[in-house]
C-alpha cells in the first residue's frame, strides 16, 4: 500500500501517522520527493482502512498495490479452473451451452423445452422456480414444485439442471440441484454466499447490475473462502445511462475476468438485452471474445410464457444459433 502525503504537510502529524502504522506491525518505507512524500507500507495491509487514511488532512491519496482477493486470483492459481457439473465441464477449454425457459411452468412445458434444447446442442437445462420480481404482485415462481419439475426434465434428458436460489432458508430444497445460480440482485447477499460456500455444490454467480469486476471477484471469494471452489462467473449486463436495451452487456469483462481470475466466465445475453432478436448476435460475440459458455432463454411458445417471453428464442432459432456458436469456436480454436 502506498500513501502519498501532501506537500507541506505538518511534520508532527506525519510522524504520528507513521507511528500509528508501525503499531499495526507494518514496515514503512519513506521516500521524499520534490512535490510530495510517499510512504510505502510493507507487510499485511489487509486490515488497513484505505478510506480512513484518505480522509486524513495530511494525506493526498492512497493506493493499494496488492489485491485483497486470494482464492479467486489468477496470480496464485495460474491455470484455468474447470468446474464439473455432473458430466459437464466448464472452463479450461470446455464450453457450456445452458438453455431453457425463464420460468418452469408445467411438466409438459419443461420436458418439451428440455428435449428441444438438448436436440439443439445444449448441455445443461435452466429454468426458474424461485423468481426475483421487482413487484410483489408479479408471478414469483412455482418454488419447490418447480424444482421437482426440473428434476423430471433432467431424468428425461440427462441434462444437469441450473436454477436460482434466493435465500439460504431454501437450501435444503436444493440438495439435488446440479448448479445453483445466484442472481444479480443477490450478488452481495453475503449471508447467502457464505452458506453456499458451506453447501459445497457448484455455484453460478451473476454480476450485479452496478457491480465492479473486483466486487464480483470478492463475492466469489466469499464462496471460496467458505470452502467451495466450484464457482462460475456470469456477465449479464450492467445498468448504464443507455436505455435502448434493458442493460448494457459488458463483454470486455470476459477477457478481463480471465486475466484477473482462473474461474470460468459465461455470458447471459438473454437477460442483458431483453429482446430475443438481439440474443444471437450477442451470443456469437460472447463466443468470439472467449467466454466459457452461454446461457440462453428458450421457450417452446414465447407468446404465452408467464415471464420474460420477450427475450426467449424458439427452439429452432436456438438450434441455428448453436451451430454458429460452434463454428465461431472452431475457427478461433
Amino acid at each position: 500500500m502506498i500513501v502519498v502525503i501532501k506537500k507541506d504537510a505538518d511534520k508532527e502529524k506525519q510522524d504520528r501517522l507513521v507511528d500509528w502504522l508501525k503499531s499495526m506491525g507494518l514496515g514503512i518505507h519513506v521516500s521524499v520527493g520534490e512535490y510530495q512524500t510517499v510512504l510505502g507500507l510493507i507487510g499485511d495491509t489487509s486490515k488497513v482502512d484505505m478510506d480512513l487514511l484518505e480522509s486524513l488532512d495530511i494525506v493526498d491519496s492512497v493506493k493499494r498495490v496488492s489485491e485483497t482477493f486470494k482464492c479467486v486470483n489468477r496470480k496464485f492459481h495460474p491455470d484455468d479452473s474447470v468446474v464439473e457439473i455432473g458430466s459437464v465441464k466448464v472452463g479450461g477449454g470446455h464450453f457450456c451451452m445452458i438453455a431453457g425457459p425463464c420460468s418452469v411452468e408445467t411438466e409438459e412445458q419443461i420436458v418439451t423445452v428440455a428435449r428441444a434444447v438438448k436436440a439443439a446442442g445444449a448441455n445443461m437445462l435452466r429454468g426458474g422456480a424461485f423468481k426475483p420480481r421487482t413487484s410483489p404482485y408479479d408471478f414469483q415462481g412455482l418454488k419447490a414444485q418447480g424444482l421437482e419439475l426440473l428434476k423430471i426434465a433432467r431424468a428425461e434428458t440427462g441434462l444437469p439442471i441450473v436454477t436460482e436460489i434466493m435465500s439460504a432458508d431454501a437450501l435444503p430444497l436444493f440438495e439435488d440441484v446440479d448448479l445453483l445460480q445466484v442472481g444479480a440482485r443477490n450478488m452481495q447477499n453475503f449471508d447467502l454466499l457464505k452458506e453456499l460456500g458451506h453447501f459445497g455444490k457448484p455455484v453460478l454467480l451473476k454480476r450485479g447490475l452496478a457491480n465492479t469486476l473486483k466486487e464480483l471477484l470478492m463475492s466469489a471469494e466469499y464462496i471460496m473462502a467458505s470452502g467451495n471452489e466450484q464457482v462460475i462467473l456470469c456477465e449479464r449486463g450492467i445498468r448504464t445511462y443507455s436505455d435502448y436495451l434493458r442493460n448494457t452487456l459488458d463483454l470486455a469483462a470476459v477477457p478481463m475476468l480471465h486475466e484477473l481470475s482462473h474461474l470460468p466466465v459465461i455470458v447471459d445475453p438473454s437477460h442483458a438485452t431483453g429482446i430475443a432478436r438481439m440474443v444471437p448476435p450477442m451470443a456469437l460475440a460472447a463466443a468470439a471474445c472467449g467466454a466459457d459458455g452461454i446461457m440462453i432463454e428458450v421457450h417452446n411458445d414465447p407468446i404465452h410464457a408467464l415471464c420474460d417471453g420477450a427475450q426467449s428464442l424458439k427452439p429452432e432459432e436456438y438450434a441455428a444459433l448453436a451451430k454458429k456458436v460452434q463454428a465461431v469456436r472452431e475457427v478461433l480454436a
Copy 2:
C-alpha cells in the same frame, strides 16, 4: 396500457394480438392514426407482460400509464405518512436526526457516542452490529453482542436505536430494535422484505446503488403489501461514472419521492460521500430540499474506528452541523 402498432403491420397478426389481449379480460380501444395504430388496454393490466408485447414484431412500443404500486402511492394516500419510532415521529413535518458510529465496537464507545449525539441534537442512535462488507476478510460486526450494546446505550440515553438487518434468519434478535435498516445491497432481497412486512416493526429502506425510484418504491410496496405501513425511504447515493466521491448523492430524489409517495424520505450523506468534510454541506443541502431527516455517522475517535472512520464527524462537528440544519429548516418553514 398503450400499445403502439407499427405502420404497415400485418393485419392478421394484429387481429390475433387483439384477440389474445381480450382473452385476458381486457377491453381494447383501437385508434388508427396516420403513422400508426394505437391500442388502449382497459382493465387490470397488471398481469400483462410489457416486455413480451414489445418483443412482437408488429409492435412499435408499449407504455404503462398507471403505476403498479398501490400502497406507497400518493395518488391513493394524499397526506404525508408519519412513522413513529418510540416517541420519535418522522414525516409530515417531523424531522429526524439519526446519528452514531458506523459500527458498534464497545460499550464505552457506543454509550459515549450516544450521549454526545444526544447532547448535540440527535433523536435516534444508529450503529452497525451486522455489517455487509465487500470482502470476506473485513470486520463483519459484533452481531448479537452489538445489538445488546445498542440497547445499553438506549437505556442510558433514551434514544431509539436503528441498526441494519442482513438476513431474515436474524429477525428474532431484532425484536427489541426500534427501527430496522435494510441496506442498499439488500434493497431487492425480496424474501427479507416480505419477512419485514410480517415482522411489523418500522423499517428504514435504503435505495440500492443502481436502483430507480420506481424500484425503491416497489421494494417498499413489498413491505407494505405484507402488512407493515411503517416504512421510511432513504437516499444514500448512487453509482455513476463520477468517481471523485464514493457515490453521487441524488438529492433531487427527495422532492421526487415526495411527489410519488406519501412515505417519509431521509438522506444519508455519510455513506454517499465517504468523506467527513463533505458531510456538512450535503446534510444542509438535504435539509434545504425537504428531506424528513438525516442520518450521519459520528464517532468520538475517528482515527481508531474499525470501519468507515473516514466519513465520521466528531461530536463537536456534528453539534455545529445540527444547529445549522435547524436554522435552515426554520427559515424554510
Copy 3:
C-alpha cells in the same frame, strides 16, 4: 404523440390544452379510460415540445410514437447504405479494416505503418493529425503537416486515409482527405456537423461517451439533412460506473443501430478498451455481432509512440487478428 391526462384533472384546463394543441394544426383524438384520459395527437408533431407538455400539472406523461429522425431511418430506407471511400466500400456486406497509429509522427513512421497494415489486410489508413487532448499541455498533433504525411503514406500504399477534424475552420485543409472523422467529444458540435453536411465528403461519426443511440442518429441526421449521405457510424465505448477499462464497449449497439438505421456501423475497440491485449477479443466480438468494419490502432514501435501507445497493436499482432476476423466473418456469412 400520445398525451396521458391525469385522473381527476381539471376539465377546464383539459379543454384549454386541447384548444391550444388544435391551434397548432393538430388533430386530437380523445379516449377516456377508467383511470385516465388519453389524447392522440395527429399531424406534424415535430414542433410540439414534449417537455413542456409533461410539465403541465394535468398531464401524467407524454410519449412520442414516431421518431423525429428521417434521413437516417431504416423505415424510410429499408436497404443497407453502402458508403464509398475511394475504391473501398463500407456497409451492405462490405467490411472495412481501418488501421494505423494514434498520431502521425514522422514520414518514416506513417509510411512504415501504412505498409505494414496494408500487408496485414487493412484497406484504409488512420492517423491523427489534429488531436483532442484533455490537457492543454499534452501533444496536440502535427496538424496540417500531419495531413501531408498521411497523403504521402496514401501515395505509397494506395490506402484511403481517415483522420479527425475538430473544427469547421480547418475544413479547407481536409479537401483531399478521404474519410473525415468526427470524434466522440464533437458528436454534438452541431455547427461542425452542418458544415460537414455541406462539405460533402464521407464522414465517420463516433458516438459520444454518454450519448444515446437516438442522439447519435440525430447527429447523423444533421449531416444528412445538410445534403451529405455518406455517413458511417462508430461505436467506441461509453462511460459507465465500470472503470476496469477506459470505457465500456457497447457492442449491442451494432445490431440495434442496424435495426434503426440503414447506415454502416463500425467499431473501435482500441479507444474503447485502452489496452492492446483487450483489442483482439473485442475486435472478434465486433465482427461476430455484425459490425461493418473495425478501426484499430497499430504502431510499429508502441513503446515510443507519442500518444496512446498502450492501446496499439504491433503489425504482426494486427496481421494475426485480421486473419481471425476474416475467418469469423466467413463462418457467419
Copy 4:
C-alpha cells in the same frame, strides 16, 4: 508518478524501462517490497504517457501523484477567485442570481422578463440566442438578432447579459456580451476553449454530461492557460442510469470543486431537472451546500415558450424562491 512493477517481473525488461524513463530526464527512486517493486518518478512527468506504462506487461499499475492542472489549482492559489462581470462579482462570498428565459424570442418578451427577474432579485440576465439542439429540425435560436435583443434588455435594466457561444466563428458577435457561456456539449471543444482564452471576456463553463471534475478543471485550464483568468464553473447535472428527471444534479461537486480549485462554482437546477417544480428545492440545496450562484430559467408565459418551457419558473415563483435562497445564505453565513 509512481509505477508499480509486477512481482517476478523480468529483470532485464525492468532495467530497460528504468533506462527509458531516465532518458526522458526523470529521476527514478526504486523501492523493492515483498510483493512488488515500486518506481518513484521524480521531475517533470507531464510528458509521461500513463496509459503506455500501464500497458507494459511488467507493470502492475501507475499512479500520478501530482495533478496536471496548474492555473485552476487551489494548491497554487489558496484564495477564492472573484470574477467580475460589469459591476457584478461572483465568488469569494459574492453570490450571483442569473435568471431569464431559455431562448430570446422577442424584444417584448426579453425586456419583460428582464424587468421581472430584476425586480425579483436577479443580478444577471440569461437568454439563449444560439441554441444547441439535438435535432436539426428544432428551433436553433434567433442568433445575432437574439444578441441584439439581449443588449436592449440590458440597456433597459442594467443587468449584465449571459448567453451561450457554440463556435469560435461567432466570437465577433460576442464583443459586447458580458459573460460567455460554454454549454455542456462544448465543454471539450478545445478549439473553442483556446479562442475564449484569447478573447479575454468572462466565461461560464458548464460541466459536460459525462465529464469528471478533473476534466472540467482541465477545460478551465485550457481557457486560463490561454491567458483568461475570468472563469466560472457550473454544475448542471450529469447523465446516469437514473431517468426520473432529465439529469442527476451532482451537488457534491460544489464543495469538491471548491476544494480542488479557487474558481467560483454555480449551479443550474433548471437544465438539470427539466421540471419547474423541482427547481426551487434544488436551488435551495445548491445555496445550502455553498454554491456561488444559481442560474434559473424564468419565463413570463411558460406555456408558450418556444423551448424548454417545462423547466421555467414564473416570475412570481422566482421572486419567492429568491427570498428563500437569500434566507438560507444568511443563516449559513
